[in-house]
Structures are given as structure tokens and as C-alpha cells.
């Protein structure tokens, strides 16, 4: 049960969130040296990639029919379908947005597949405009009769609505000129594994776990979306979005666990074995965890943990209207320094590591944006209406979050420079306590480690923290290099060393 205020805050990422499956990723801990190393997805050798290409090509003949949905609705066909539907409109204006989804989702636990799915869906949203009102209807069929009924229903709704003081008319065709060239293509959609191939990848993760008596769990998901938008001004947009998640948890006989997660747009870019090895290595290191007392500690937060905190910083307050209404911790802070000078956050739909869609469900072009620059609030999320009212550019919502990092610094460097501290590889169940501070609480999970004199000396039992996001992101001692990470958005995030992280209670595991 979430309040609408929280819902509105979450809207910052919701449009993209529904395309991205909840995940965080963690890094490997080598059992022998107990040092943490960072995944470098770019480090995959050409040989490895070439081998993968052969494997994919080989299994392509076995692909199940889920691929058909993508092939059935190509750009030209969708343009034709939307164009025909728009002609049925009796309203002043009409907008139609559609999304076609195909997904394979395989889940495993206890060294066996436990859930295995092929899912397919269509979403069509019709927005009929009359005067300064908009009526919306959604359906999931291109059946011509159903589509016409839905258009009529949206026209009935628009007729009974009161005038909307925050109405904005549909965009002009000229918006098309602003679209960035998407980095995702039909190739990302078509490179997908058969269920037999997915099973093979899972078995490759299980085998080394069995050797040490551990259990392999996790999931493989490949969600593929084709999206199109058209309005009665002739504006048309079309694009592809592919999101693959390979999530691994290894559980040792004593219940200690290690976690790793990789994400990619194209399955050829995913290193399955490396990820499963990371999870196993970390699970082994997580054994024999000791207790520590609650209190304030210097912590090294993995990119996955930082990703969660950055996301909550955005959920909590970057909506310009909320700020102006006094409902955000960033009210009156536009242009002011709020965070540490080392923090810079941008978004870029064409980032090659975490590409995103280049238009939204009203046909607006997503652009590259700076949100936080050297700790200063550079931009807030202005909707089209709020931008018009305040004579500003509509900045929309971020489609990804790119945090400035330092390619010369590894997470190992952060550890070796820490006299007393804690390495947190994953945070779990974070929630706001007071969004106006904004304070949050949450737990550590799947591998938390004690650092003494620059080395990991032990695993520690899981802890609960309560802290302020502003305080955390104003207490950055050092930033490392970045990797793709993300629970809701696909982000590009570094590990960070933070002072005085506030643990308030512990667990028995």
C-alpha cells in the first residue's frame, strides 16, 4: 500500500521500470586472497565472443516461436496499424502508444530449474483529446473491432471530464527531428537463447557448485519490447528495447550466500560463467561470518549498492512540480550544492553500456541530461506542463543514471586504502523512513565483509542501516570505476567509499 505521493515520486522511473526486472548485482570475492575484484564486461576476449556467436547461431534453429511476435509487428506494419486506427478518431486529437513484449524467464534453485516461462503481450494506450481534456483507454489486442471500441470508449470518457488546467496538446511532427539514434536494434531482439540453451547455461553454473556442496539458484530473463507511438499531428516513433538479466545466488551448506548479476542488451555480451563464478567465490568467502556491533563505520559500497541509493535520491525528490509544491527534500535547491563535489550524475539514452529508449509514451524525445554536477542540482524533472508553466525546457524523466567514476581506481584499491571498514556488496529492502530528509533504512545481504589494514579479514553477519541519502552522498571519500548495474533502471555506476555509514541493528545470519 503506497501513497499516491510515493507513486508520483516513483513515476520518475516507472515507465522504464516496467521493462526492467528488479535486480542488483554484486561483485566477486576471491576466497584465497579475500580481495574483491571488479567485473570488466569489456574485458571479454574476442575469442570468447566469437565462440559465443557460434553457439548462438547453432541454437538459432531450435528457437521456439516466441520470436514470431517481434517479427510479426515490424516498424512498417505498426506504422500502418496505428495510422489506420488514428483515422477512426472523432476527437480533436488522438495519440496511440503500443508496446509488444516477448520474454523468456527461467528460474532455478537447489540446483534445478523451478520455473520456466515464455510470455508474450501487447499493450496499446489510446489517448483522445477534446478541448483541453484527455481520456485514456488501454487494451491488449490489435483486433480492429476492439481497437475501434476502445477509441470510442476513450471519446466517451473525454466528453465527461472537466477541463484540465494542466493540459498539454499533442506534440508536433517536428519532434521527430530531436530523436537520438537508438543503440538497440532488431539484432538485440533476435539474438535470444532457446530454452535448451538456457538449461545448458544453468547446468554450467550448477556443476562447480555441486563440487563444494553448494546450491545454485537464480534466474535468466530476456525481455524484448518493440514500441511505437503515433499521433494525429503525424508524429511517429518506433524503437526496440532488449533487457537481459542473469542473476546467480550460490548458497553454501551453512546457509551463507554469494550473489552476482550481469545485465546486457544483447545476449552475446553476457558472460554467464564469469557471473556464476563470482557468486560461488563470494559465497565461499561469506562463510564463518562474525558479529559486529551497530554503529558508524566507513563502508565501501559496491556499484549495485550505490545504484540503489542513487535511485532513492531520484525517487525522493527530482520531480520539479513536487519541489515547487514543497513536497520534496530538494525544494528550493535547484542550482544549489546538495551533495559531495565529486558526485556528478547524468543520463544518456545512447550510453553504449546501458542504452535506453529514445522517446517516451507521448512521443517526446529523451535527451542527454546532467542532473547533478559536482554536487550541485543542475536539473530537475520538468514534465511538459510544468516546463511550459515555468518557461523551462521539458526535461522529462531519466531513462538511465550515469554516475561519474574514476577508471583508474578499482574496488580493490578502495579496500587496500581502508584501515577499518566494511565492504557491502548488496543492499536489500530499502525504504524511505522520512522522504523529506530523505532518510532510508535497509539491510545488507549475500556477502558483507570486515576490512582491517587494507584487507578483508572476515565475513560479517547481516546488518540493518538507517541513514540520510544526502549525508551518505555528501560523505564520499573516493569513487572507483563504473559498471552497468541496476534494479529498476539500467545504470552505469561506480563503487564508493563512504564515511560514517550508520548501522542500527543486526541479524543472526
Amino acid at each position: 500500500m503506497k501513497s499516491v505521493k510515493k507513486k508520483a515520486a516513483k513515476k520518475v522511473v516507472k515507465k522504464i521500470a516496467k521493462k526492467v526486472v528488479k535486480k542488483t548485482i554484486t561483485k566477486p570475492v576471491k576466497a584465497a586472497t579475500k580481495k574483491v575484484t571488479v567485473t570488466n564486461k569489456k574485458a571479454a576476449t574476442k575469442k570468447t565472443i566469437a565462440t559465443k556467436k557460434i553457439a548462438i547461431k547453432k541454437v538459432a534453429t531450435k528457437k521456439v516461436a516466441t520470436k514470431k511476435a517481434v517479427e510479426t509487428y515490424n516498424k512498417e506494419k505498426l506504422q500502418k496499424l496505428l495510422s489506420s486506427a488514428i483515422k477512426l478518431s472523432r476527437a480533436d486529437h488522438i495519440e496511440i502508444y503500443c508496446s509488444i513484449e516477448d520474454r523468456e524467464a527461467t528460474r532455478f534453485s537447489d540446483n534445478a530449474i523451478s520455473q520456466n516461462l515464455a510470455q508474450k503481450d501487447i499493450k496499446i494506450r489510446i489517448s483522445s483529446h477534446k478541448g483541453n481534456r484527455v481520456g485514456k483507454v488501454e487494451l491488449n489486442s490489435f483486433d480492429s473491432k476492439m481497437l475501434e471500441n476502445a477509441i470510442r470508449q476513450s471519446e466517451e470518457i473525454v466528453n465527461i471530464l472537466p477541463d484540465d488546467p494542466e493540459y498539454v496538446p499533442p506534440l508536433k511532427k517536428s519532434e521527430e527531428k530531436k530523436y537520438l539514434k537508438s543503440l538497440m536494434s532488431i539484432k538485440d531482439m533476435n539474438n535470444h537463447l532457446s530454452f535448451e540453451e538456457i538449461a545448458k547455461k544453468i547446468k554450467e553454473g550448477i556443476d562447480p557448485c555441486k563440487k563444494v556442496g553448494a546450491k545454485f539458484a537464480g534466474s535468466y530473463k530476456h525481455s524484448r519490447y518493440q514500441e511505437a507511438f503515433m499521433n494525429s499531428n503525424g508524429l511517429f516513433a518506433h524503437g526496440y528495447y532488449s533487457a537481459i538479466d542473469w542473476t546467480n545466488i550460490v548458497v553454501m551448506p551453512g546457509g551463507e550466500s554469494g550473489y552476482a548479476h550481469s545485465l546486457a542488451s544483447n545476449v552475446l555480451d553476457l558472460d554467464f560463467k564469469k557471473t556464476s563464478k563470482e557468486a560461488l567465490t563470494k559465497a565461499i568467502a561469506a562463510q564463518n561470518a562474525v558479529d559486529i556491533a551497530p554503529g558508524k563505520y566507513t563502508v565501501i559500497l559496491s556499484p549495485e549498492a550505490i545504484d540503489e541509493i542513487i535511485l532513492y535520491a531520484f525517487w525522493g525528490g527530482f520531480e520539479a512540480k513536487k519541489c515547487d509544491d514543497g513536497l520534496s527534500y530538494l525544494r528550493g535547491k535547484l542550482g544549489e550544492k546538495v551533495f559531495d563535489s565529486s558526485l556528478t550524475v547524468t543520463s544518456d539514452p545512447t550510453n553504449k553500456f546501458v542504452p535506453s529508449m529514445t522517446f517516451d509514451d507521448q512521443g517526446s524525445a529523451y535527451k542527454k541530461r546532467a542532473w547533478i554536477k559536482n554536487g550541485v542540482i543542475e536539473n530537475l524533472c520538468y514534465s511538459r506542463y510544468w516546463a511550459l508553466k515555468n518557461n523551462r525546457e521539458a526535461t522529462l524523466n531519466p531513462t538511465n543514471l550515469i554516475v561519474e567514476g574514476n577508471d583508474k581506481v578499482t574496488i580493490d584499491d578502495l579496500i587496500s586504502e581502508t584501515e577499518n571498514g566494511i565492504l557491502i556488496t548488496r543492499l536489500w529492502y530499502i525504504r524511505f523512513v522520512d522522504p523529506m530528509i530523505p532518510s532510508i533504512t535497509g539491510m545488507t545481504r549475500d556477502g558483507t565483509f570486515l576490512i582491517k589494514d587494507g584487507k578483508i579479514v572476515s565475513a560479517i553477519k547481516n546488518m540493518r542501516f538507517n541513514d540520510s541519502i544526502v549525508r551518505i552522498l555528501s560523505s564520499i571519500e573516493k569513487i572507483a570505476k563504473r559498471i552497468p548495474a541496476g534494479e529498476f533502471l539500467r545504470n552505469y555506476i561506480p563503487a564508493m567509499k563512504i564515511r560514517d555509514f550508520n548501522f542500527t541493528s543486526g541479524t543472526t545470519f
Partner: protein, 480 residues
């Protein structure tokens, strides 16, 4: 629908599956939100499709499609079979299921007024009336009213011969008042708890009557006393307890978690199978009852998506852990002769998984009142409504906030407190409960957006309770 279902089962039988079922679903959802005196959102959503699940070679396969035709069903059955064959290559042992008897039945929510028969304009007029009243309260800057009406028509068939039709209507209405001053903002919410019921729930509610009080309390929160911490007694209102029950009992007693099947996302549970009928979960006055027949319950659907008829059972009896939420395969895994029947998918698109049922803390037997509970507290806090919530992946260490907090001193309610949090370990917390108010004070609340599974699915369930008292709880961990 019946012909399509039969066609699916015939196709599955031809593939020599051990088990198969199909759900064909047509649904409509209407979402209305007003922000101050404007329509923030109006959306009518029509959705249809089917999902096929097969068990073959001791492994599951599932596929779904929005196109409801015989040809598409044939295609999707073949995909589900192919997926099951792939699943079977990575298994420890064959999945077994408890076999439900073949049932032909139907179930329909009792609805006096179909929410979709009420003109949208009338619904908005009511919402605007509430918003206007709340906006008259000084310092109320923003108000939202949120209404959601849903109807799900489902036809279920399985290979054992069950043919079950259900038609479930859900109504929800909530409003939020946001107060703003020069320092901060605070919000307070109220609503009819979501129920399987018609629009009569809105018409017969106290929504209009209470809205100004709710807005006034939002304003009071701006100047409520801050920074409370220490070890204190708690008296928790049913509107608050619903979420505590949900997180620390509901999720902890899902059998798929206990069997490790949620390892990769939601996690496991401390309530493992070896502790069934042994673990002291709470004090002897604690009884948690799962009831899938509960009147107007959000999980009262007649049957679950395994085709198991809704029933009533104890999760905790006289303080002892005594039951799980189950599915036909998890029940078989621990040797149960039948499932308790709480395996549901959130749409035709999704595979059924074990969910929290309607789960309630039963009233105390001593006919105590809320005042009786409060009068027994020297130094404590009375908490109403839901707020911040967080719990670890074993469902042990939790921290909760709330919506409104009242100080209790020497047995009497005093000043309002700001943003209190309490933290405890699940078993310790329920064992610290020394009093539960009587049946007269027992009310239903609920959760309409419970998230679980991977891919994530939502579910709805009711949680009833009477006010309850807890001794020596750690307060204020969330103060920073």
C-alpha cells in the same frame, strides 16, 4: 471459453503430459486519480489472454498469449511442452503434485452495485467533493483521491477434468492529504480497505465524513514531537498491524520460500519445515488464521489457480507455528495430502506461485477494549496506519513506521509524535504480545500490491486484527 479450454486440454493430453491446466481471463480495470481539483489520471484498461501450464517428465513449463484462438492455444501448448522438456534436463527429482478432485463449479463476488455501472463523472464528483473539503484545511497544499475498480472473469480447466469459472470484483478508494510548512511536509491517508465488493463499499463508507479530520491530522504531523527513542510498549491499531502481519508472518510462512524456491529474489524464511508444529512463533494468545473463504476478502476467489477450493486453516495456533500457504507441488513436496490452496498468478500472462492468503490475527478471548490495552501502558506509543517497512530476506529483522503516532503516558493517550520507527526480531516481537482486544474491535484491512516472484507479480490479500499490545520494543532506530 469451455470449448477453448477443452481444446487446450486435448492438445496437452496428446503430448502425454502428466498434468496441464489453462486459465483464460478477461479483465477490466478502471483507475481514477484526482489531484486537488483536477483529474490527475483516468484510465480504463481492458485485458485478455490465456496461460497454459504443463507438467511433463517431472518438470514444469508455462507459456501465455493475448490471442485467444484455437490455433494460438495449440501453438502455446506446444511451447509449454517444449519448455517442460527443457526444464526436465535440469532437475534433482521429478515434481509431484497432490491431485485435486475434478470439480465443475463457479464463484462470483457478491456485488450490490457494479462499480462499472456508475458513470465516471459521478465517481469524479465524489472524489472532488472530498478533495475540496480537505483543501479547506489550512496548510494542506496537495490532496489526492485514488479509486481503483477491477473485474476479473476467469475460466480454469485442468487435465483432471476440473472446469471452474470465477468472476471477481474489487473496489478500492483511498485519499491522501499533504500538509506543507516552511520546514517540511507530512501526509496522512485514509480509505476503505480494498475488498472484493462492489461500489456499495464507497457509498456506505466514512470517506466523506472523515476527510477533514484526516487533513487536520496531516497538519498536526508538521508540529508533532520529534526524536522519540528507547524501549517502550506499543499498542498497534488493526490498520497498522495489517502490514506487520503481512511482512513478518504472511511472507515468512509461504512454503515455496521455506523450500528455497524464492532464494534468488525474495529470499528464504526462518520458519523452515523442520519447525512446523514445534516453533514458538508468538505468545500463547497469538492465533493467525488463513481464510480463503473470508467475506469480502481480497484473496477470496472461490478456488486458487491450482483449482484448489478455498479453505480456512491455522498458520499459528496458540503461539505455535502450525501451517503454510501452499500450492499443489509444494504441498506434495512436504508430504501433505492436499494443498491449502493459495497458489495464484496475477494475470493470464503469469505463472501461478504461492501467495499470502487472507491472513488475520484473531481477537483476544478476554473481551478487552482498546482503552483496556492503553490503560495498561505506562510509557508507550499507539500507532495507526501503514508507513515505512523493511525486513531481511529471512524475515527476522524488521523495522516499521506508521501513519500516525500517539504517545501513551500513565495509561492515557497524549501528544502526537512524529515519524516513529520500531525494530524487532519477528519471533521476539510476537512473543512480546501480552494483550489483544476482543472481537468487537476486530476489523479487516489489507494489502493490494504485494510484490513477489521473478518476474515480479502482484497480489491482493486481507489482514484482519484487533488492536494488540506489545511490551518492551526498541523505538527510534530510524532517527538520523
Amino acid at each position: 471459453m469451455r470449448d477453448l479450454c477443452l481444446h487446450a486440454m486435448n492438445e496437452a493430453e496428446r503430448q502425454k503430459v502428466e498434468y496441464a491446466d489453462i486459465r483464460i481471463i478477461n479483465s477490466r480495470e478502471q483507475k481514477l486519480i484526482t489531484e486537488n481539483e483536477r483529474v490527475y489520471e483516468v484510465k480504463d484498461n481492458f485485458d485478455q489472454g490465456f496461460g497454459v501450464r504443463v507438467l511433463l517428465n517431472g518438470a514444469w513449463g508455462f507459456a501465455s498469449s493475448p490471442i485467444i484462438t484455437k490455433d494460438e492455444i495449440s501453438r502455446v501448448v506446444k511451447i509449454a511442452v517444449a519448455i517442460a522438456k527443457a526444464s526436465a534436463k535440469i532437475k534433482n527429482k521429478s515434481v509431484s503434485i497432490v491431485k485435486n478432485p475434478a470439480i465443475t463449479d463457479s464463484f462470483k463476488t457478491i456485488v450490490k452495485i457494479d462499480p462499472f455501472s456508475i458513470p465516471i463523472k459521478d465517481k469524479f464528483d465524489f472524489m472532488f467533493e472530498i478533495n475540496k473539503k480537505m483543501l479547506k484545511v489550512n496548510k494542506i497544499k496537495k490532496v489526492y483521491s485514488i479509486a481503483n475498480y477491477e473485474n476479473v472473469d476467469k475460466y480454469f480447466a485442468n487435465i483432471f477434468g476440473s472446469r471452474i469459472q470465477s468472476n471477481i470484483t474489487t473496489s478500492m478508494f483511498e485519499y491522501v492529504a499533504c500538509a506543507v510548512d516552511e520546514h517540511t511536509s507530512r501526509e496522512r491517508s485514509h480509505g476503505i480497505y480494498p475488498q472484493t465488493i462492489g461500489y456499495e463499499a464507497v457509498l456506505e463508507s466514512d470517506l466523506l465524513e472523515k476527510c477533514e479530520k484526516v487533513a487536520s491530522e496531516a497538519v498536526m504531523k508538521l508540529s508533532a514531537h520529534k526524536g522519540i527513542e528507547g524501549v517502550k510498549d506499543l499498542v498497534l491499531d488493526p490498520t497498522h498491524l495489517a502490514l506487520t502481519i503481512h511482512e513478518s508472518v504472511g511472507h515468512a510462512t509461504e512454503l515455496d520460500r521455506a523450500l528455497g524456491m524464492e532464494e534468488s529474489l525474495s529470499g528464504r524464511t526462518f520458519a523452515t519445515v523442520d519447525k512446523l508444529n514445534k516453533l514458538i512463533y508468538g505468545s500463547p494468545i497469538i492465533n493467525f488464521v488463513a481464510d480463503l473463504t473470508l467475506e469480502n476478502g481480497l484473496a477470496t476467489n472461490g478456488y486458487d489457480d491450482d483449482g484448489t477450493k478455498g479453505k480456512r486453516w491455522h498458520i499459528v495456533k496458540d503461539g505455535i507455528f502450525s501451517g503454510y500457504s501452499t500450492s499443489i507441488d509444494t504441498a506434495a513436496e512436504i508430504g501433505m495430502s492436499e494443498s491449502n490452496g493459495r497458489c495464484n498468478a496475477d494475470s493470464w500472462f503469469s505463472i501461478p506461485i504461492v501467495r499470502i492468503p487472507n491472513l488475520s490475527l484473531m481477537p483476544g478471548k478476554d473481551n478487552l477494549s482498546l482503552d483496556d490495552l492503553i490503560s495498561g501502558v505506562d510509557d508507550g506509543i499507539y500507532i495507526e496506519g501503514m508507513g515505512s517497512f523493511s525486513i531481511d530476506q529471512m524475515r527476522e529483522n524488521f523495522q516499521f513506521g506508521g501513519d500516525v503516532f500517539w504517545e501513551i503516558k500513565n495509561g492515557k493517550i497524549g501528544r502526537m509524535l512524529d515519524n516513529v520507527t520500531y525494530q524487532a526480531i519477528t519471533k521476539d516481537f510476537w512473543n512480546s504480545c501480552d494483550a489483544i482486544a476482543g472481537e468487537k474491535y476486530w476489523v479487516k484491512s489489507g494489502v493490494a500490491n504485494c510484490g513477489k516472484g521473478d518476474p515480479m507479480q502482484t497480489a491482493k490479500m486481507t489482514h484482519g486484527a484487533s488492536p494488540a499490545r506489545f511490551r518492551n520494543i526498541k523505538i527510534g532506530g530510524g532517527n538520523v
